[in-house]
Symmetry: C2
Subunit: 527 residues, 2 copies
């Protein structure tokens, strides 16, 4: 389980996360006028609106040296508007409020952005075209999971989910803003009611308690060092509340509200939708508009993606930062997965590849071995893969729906996998000699990983593709059992010499022996 | 070899093609004022330019009813400018010349567009998102080949190439405008010389004889019913003539000249480049500009694509009509090939998938079986595949370079393949239950084709994915040997009933027997 000590190293962990989850409305960290770089500053502003307080416009203008950033505020109930801001640079910032409400307009203050504390590496952004890194340069390699409705559970269950995450290798979780019609949930909803019917909502008035719960969850994940992949819309309303078919102006209002609330949390990513192409009341033009709105109103420029069912969104649009793909077959074979990289020149995250579990549905019945395979195939393709599971963990459901505990066999193997993934030089694994059936990932001249999946070879010929080799390079070889979670380093080294026009090898040591079991890999490391 | 009688059916054929190839400069077909719909009308205009005649602007304005089309003209040497036009509608058209040369300006005439003759189905355009059709609605299913330099050979060799094409299943050929530095060629060049050096060109003066040869070739292919996929630029200059690094204004001048010459031939497709990403003197912005220029100056709107080496162009751009992909590994497995369809929602033509041949280079050493496999895998993915070969057919080279004869084993199998491809209902094969390892293409509820590649099963379970089935549908089953070119229709029918939540089958007849040989397929046809 090497390479998986993140929580301890960070000195944060579950206690802080639990505290965040049970706190009142989020507050500025530390003294009100002091916040870590990439931390969350909040100005809480009292006032009285003559009309609907949600209609009040409020913007915080933050200035540092020659730099000005405008952060949108939002109404949070009880006569309080909040403006949140995460300073991207250390030093003195001033802020001034612009508002159409005289009570708020012109209020101002200052804050000092201090050095980031332990475990605060800043937000994640795209790095080196296909990968991710924190703002301080630390590589971030997504190893995500999904629990759509953990966000909508009671407090005990949410704490259970955080405990599970803290003990897991997962560093990203996908989660729904709106409730899921087929998953148990607390009786809390995002809008005020307008009548007795299940779909009777006053779309002009949010329910602050609903969104404060979301604040707390994102804060708790931040304390754990887990990215919150916040799914703005989804098609699982089950004809109950109509949240999958709200008018465009309501969708836009939701976007403005959620972005104003959450964008200042450095661990937030935006997922426009889950299975967007099942949302039959929305067109591609709607998604284009909403994507651009998120981009335009988010002062922190968090990552933006959209997740598909059968039809892929045009991820070449400039407002898409990375591809979020559902396609389980793509990560059965690295030569499939790599095609998505090739066409978009953006990071590819396979955010749904079927789930480990025992469902009859074919999308929820992977074995632990198959779930684990997806990550290794994705890795050697230079892409990233996500997990979830559908085996019941209680009478109420399973991790994918309600969070709680993990009962599958893959998470332990994914912790092991993470050690191998993280041991690669920055930015991460790249496909090697793609399109030629090498099934190799790594870094040319430095690192080669061959993954065999369900094949069970008894030997492998150590032929390295020619690029970046000249002869004389020395390599050590690790034989990896990805299921038993063992790494056996072979004695001695392999010294490269030209074999033919395409390959280098060690003429004295042509092959490595393998045990004839499935789920093996070989790693060739430059000495 | 069923389904391959195109040349006879068309009543055109080699004699007409040979005549076109050896003709003088192209002329309007038939009487000068009468031309078939989708045929080629040409106005030849004499005059005397005070300066460089290539700098004269000349445009033909063609009018029919309320419709006006502006066709660019070009200087063709010997004091003659030509304006070519292919009428998209039958009936009376008038034309007027606009020019900055007074000799030409205001000249006018009329033409009558008559009903298309036998074999004239009009130009090819995208149909049903992923496929192609002629303007009269006839499906066009590409079965292409490549011979880069047949265009630059002596007349005898060019006639040999046409004879080969006439006897082949190929209905598209990719061909270079500019000569290839490593392939034998006639001593004819696209520009006038400006000095004694090999790269000394007067880029302001084209050599009409060079481009007239290209006219003849395109006309000859049109007579054969073969699409001419004209490759405007390529990286194989070998540091000789500098045609791979001309200034942008020269590239644009070339585009304007070639489009003015060739666009009126209904069989022309534009390929911006071969292996565009090896042309190191050009940027993506250059390709974007040139693509848009082709679109803007082509009055006939011919198909536009670009062909890659390792890096894929952003085919989501609206000026790209279809993807032209080099990736041999993609058509080893239909689940790879289909990904390109999914991301662009445009037709995908795998225009280079390695070649049948005997080269040491790995891109030129496919067996006939491997070359053939690519077409079947591409077919069930709902894509199209291209052929070529690198086995020497003479002391001078091979088909890929110089044309001439075909010596490989795949062309006969591709003729057989074409019969199966063309027997599908319009628009063509679609992938079935993609992303779930079915390896099926066809049309839901009507036609299912399972291809086994190098696997050699002894039976196949006839499970049909549930979509568009209700039970009671009756199917005949063909066992196809794609290499031996046989189709055995099994006696009786398979009557579908629900098997489980995902499949239908015939409970009385679960499987079909297969011979345990590779390269087999099974076709399930609705009765």
């Amino acid at each position: 389980m090497q390479g998986f000590h993140r929580r301890d190293v960070m000195g944060l962990g579950l206690a802080a996360a639990a505290a965040a989850l049970t706190a009142g409305p989020a507050r500025a960290q530390g003294a009100p006028d002091s916040v870590e770089r990439w931390g969350l500053f909040e100005a809480a502003l009292s006032g009285r609106a003559p009309g609907n307080p949600f209609d009040v416009t409020v913007t915080g203008v933050f200035t540092h040296g020659g730099r000005t950033i405008e952060a949108p505020g939002f109404y949070d109930g009880e006569g309080v508007w909040r403006v949140r801001f995460s300073p991207p640079e250390e030093g003195s910032w001033t802020w001034t409020i612009r508002s159409d409400l005289a009570d708020l307009d012109g209020r101002s203050g200052a804050l000092r952005a201090t050095a980031p504390g332990q475990g605060n590496h800043g937000p994640v952004a795209v790095a080196d075209t296909f990968h991710f890194a924190h703002a301080d340069g630390t590589p971030y390699r997504p190893l995500g999971t999904t629990s759509y409705g953990w966000t909508h559970q009671g407090e005990a269950q949410r704490l259970r989910t955080l405990e599970t995450l803290a003990a897991s290798p997962f560093n990203k979780i996908r989660m729904l803003v709106f409730p899921n019609g087929s998953i148990p949930h607390e009786p809390l909803f995002p809008f005020e009611k307008s009548g007795p019917g299940e779909a009777d909502w006053d779309f002009t008035r949010f329910n602050p308690a609903y969104f404060q719960r979301l604040d707390q969850q994102v804060a708790a994940l931040m304390a754990l060092g887990v990215q919150a992949d916040v799914i703005l819309f989804h098609p699982y309303d089950e004809d109950r509340w109509g949240f999958d078919r709200m008018p465009a102006e309501v969708d836009d209002r939701v976007i403005r509200h959620v972005v104003a609330r959450l964008s200042a949390y450095r661990n937030v990513w935006w997922s426009m939708a889950n299975e967007f192409d099942i949302l039959e009341h929305k067109t591609d033009a709607d998604w284009d508009r909403m994507f651009q709105l998120v981009r335009d109103v988010d002062p922190h420029g968090r990552l933006r993606s959209i997740h598909n069912w059968r039809r892929i969104y045009d991820n070449s649009h400039p407002w898409v930062t990375h591809a979020s793909i559902q396609n389980g077959s793509a990560v059965v074979d690295d030569a499939r997965a790599v095609i998505y990289r090739d066409v978009w020149y953006k990071p590819v995250v396979f955010d749904e590849v079927r789930y480990e579990g025992t469902m009859e549905d074919r999308w929820g019945n992977l074995t632990g071995q198959e779930m684990t395979r997806a990550f290794w195939e994705g890795l050697i393709a230079g892409t990233y893969v996500g997990h979830s599971e559908t085996t019941p963990n209680s009478d109420a459901g399973f991790w994918l729906g309600i969070g709680g505990t993990l009962v599958g066999e893959s998470p332990a193997r994914l912790a092991f996998f993470k050690g191998v993934m993280d041991a690669a030089p920055a930015p991460g694994y790249e496909p090697i000699d793609k399109w030629w059936e090498q099934h190799l990932g790594g870094k040319l001249g430095r690192l080669y990983l061959r993954y065999f999946g369900e094949d069970a070879p008894t030997e492998w010929t150590v032929d390295l593709p020619r690029d970046e080799l000249e002869g004389g390079e020395r390599f050590e070889v690790d034989v990896i059992d990805t299921w038993a979670m063992t790494i056996d380093t072979l004695p001695g080294v392999f010294t490269m010499a030209r074999k033919d026009r395409y390959f280098f090898h060690d003429p004295a040591r042509l092959t490595v022996s393998l045990p004839g079991r499935p789920w093996m890999a070989v790693r060739v490391r430059r000495v």
